[in-house]
Amino acid sequence: MNEEMMFMLYDTAQFLINGLVQGSIYALVALGYTMVYGIIKLINFAHGEFYMIGAFIGYFTITYFHFPLILALPVAMLLSGFAAVIVEKLVYKPIRHAGRVAALITALGVSLFFQYAGQNILGADPKAFPQAMPELTFEFGEVYITTTQIMIMVSTFVLMVLLWWLVGHTKIGKAMRATSFNKDAAALMGINTDRIISFTFFVGAMLAGAAGVLVGMYYNTVEPMMGLIPGLKAFVAAVLGGIGSIPGAVIGGLVLGVVENLVVGFWESTYRDAVSFSILIFILLVKPAGLLGKNIREKV
């Protein structure tokens, strides 16, 4: 193998690693989208804002209260979860019966509210996220991987295992699946569907909040508008994997992260967002059910 080939190989490996890290974050956010969509068929545009809220709570707890990461992460998750439950109770619950488009517009409004309220309260300038853990770099040939990257992948993996256990192997998980399958029938079987819907928002926003803290550590900055683009990207990931499907969101997130990093590496970084939106449109047109989704025929 000549030298050029070697470098090419190293580059590709490096982009793959960066892509998997980015993809884990997309996957965490996409899980919330997919769960909420699965249960009330709402594209929760405001989901990216819980990621922003999580990042800011992480920033404040670590900078001002000197929390260790192991404590800051769960606190940020819980508080963004509660924020989502408040929004759900105040806004989404009354609008649920008004139709999907009305709910979608409301979600847009909630998203704008958090972005601009955040800008006015916290300031529009990006803030430096504190170093929460020692940064070491491991080197394999020409491929580098940092402790933060490893940390992101490990936490994502742990959270996903917990989610898998929660949805598949607990009583409340069973209730969530039942509500998502048929809300009315679930209610008739004695499930408090309103509470299950709130709980779904809670879990989804918790994952988004965790993603926010992790991304703050990764890029070292947090700002009020940080949720907008990753929120949309996570939605693309959820559609790519098949919206409503939990493993689909994970696969979609990872695929999207890798593709984006390959575009940045081998083409041009300015086209990154254009490529992800093209993927979205392509999937919607060719296989709207996504990679792992089921095809549902439209009925009269």
Binding site: I95, V101, L104, L108, G109, L112, A274, F277, I281, P288
Partner: protein, 295 residues
């Protein structure tokens, strides 16, 4: 005075945008979140003509040609986007059009001949109140007449129930595309007028935020009412300026107030100010008392 004139001109641009989105979203019921993209296509196409290839004719003729180019360019973009996407429904269509709007913006950023990320400068200052409001009138007349014709009835029937319309023999795809393309075209005209008034275009003028604001205009006025679209556009152009009088704090919280209006509107009065009603002169006529039972 200058300030008021500038504001009136902006209001005109937004009336064209709101009425054109009304045709797509209010009348035909196709939820588009990519209107700022068509606005951008028209603005850049019209401005590129005026900067690179203006004809040796009076300025207003050139402006008219530029608006025509804006219309055609945005309509072509409408066909490219509409033909594949209009198969999708509801929220999926919204997301797909949102994606296309962003793609348009990213493509503009990557085109160096029209300024790219630096912005497009040196656009001649041809547009003024008269030409903007002439186009406002043209847009309103065209859209109202379309909606009153049998084509318009077909378009409205798609909003009411697409499956029922199809079973009545209406080729829903053709009418949806028609509404989408005409709406996109007028957004392009608004773009061209906007470019020649501002003399400067930047890709960040056309973010997804603006699609949402135009949508908010037609929802505030009443989804499905042309009058509502016009009133919504005027109110939301004037509102930030009116908020200035309440001091800097209120003015800073403008976007937060917008978002709260949007949420409260959906919760309390989802049909907007006018609902689906249109303004008509008969509102002012004295109500004649008709004896009951007598027709």
């Amino acid at each position: 005075m200058d300030y008021v004139a500038h504001l009136t001109l902006n209001a005109g641009t937004f009336i064209i945008l709101a009425v054109s989105l009304h045709l797509i979203n209010g009348a035909c019921g196709q939820f588009s979140l990519g209107h700022a993209g068509f606005w951008a296509v028209g603005a850049y196409a019209g401005a590129a003509f005026s900067v690179y290839a203006p004809l040796p004719v009076p300025d207003f003729v050139n402006l008219f040609i530029s608006c025509g180019i804006g219309f055609v360019a945005a309509a072509i973009a409408g066909i490219i986007i509409g033909v594949p996407c209009l198969r999708l429904r509801g929220d999926y269509l919204a997301i797909a059009t949102l994606g296309f709007g962003e793609i348009i913006r990213i493509l503009i950023i990557n085109m160096d001949s029209i300024g790219g990320p630096r912005g497009f400068t040196n656009i001649p200052n041809w547009s003024n109140l008269f030409w903007v409001y002439l186009w406002v009138v043209i847009t309103i007349v065209v859209v109202t007449n379309i909606l009153k014709s049998s084509t318009g009835r077909a378009i409205i029937s798609i909003r009411e129930d697409e499956i029922a319309a199809e079973s009545m023999g209406i080729n829903t795809f053709v009418y949806k595309t028609m509404a989408f393309v005409i709406g996109a075209g007028f957004a392009g005209v608004a773009g061209s007028l906007f470019g020649h008034a501002q003399q400067f275009l930047h890709p960040n003028n056309f973010t997804f935020m603006w699609s949402v604001i135009i949508l908010l205009m037609i929802i505030l006025g009443g989804l499905g009412s042309t009058t509502g679209a016009i009133v919504g556009a005027v109110v939301l152009t004037a509102l930030p300026e009116v908020l200035r009088f309440f001091g800097d704090t209120v003015s800073e919280w403008r976007m937060v107030i917008y978002s709260l209006i949007l949420i409260l509107l959906m919760l309390l009065r989802p049909e907007g100010i006018f609902g689906k009603k249109e303004f008509s002169l008969s509102w002012f006529r004295a109500r004649k008392l008709t004896p009951s039972g007598d027709k």
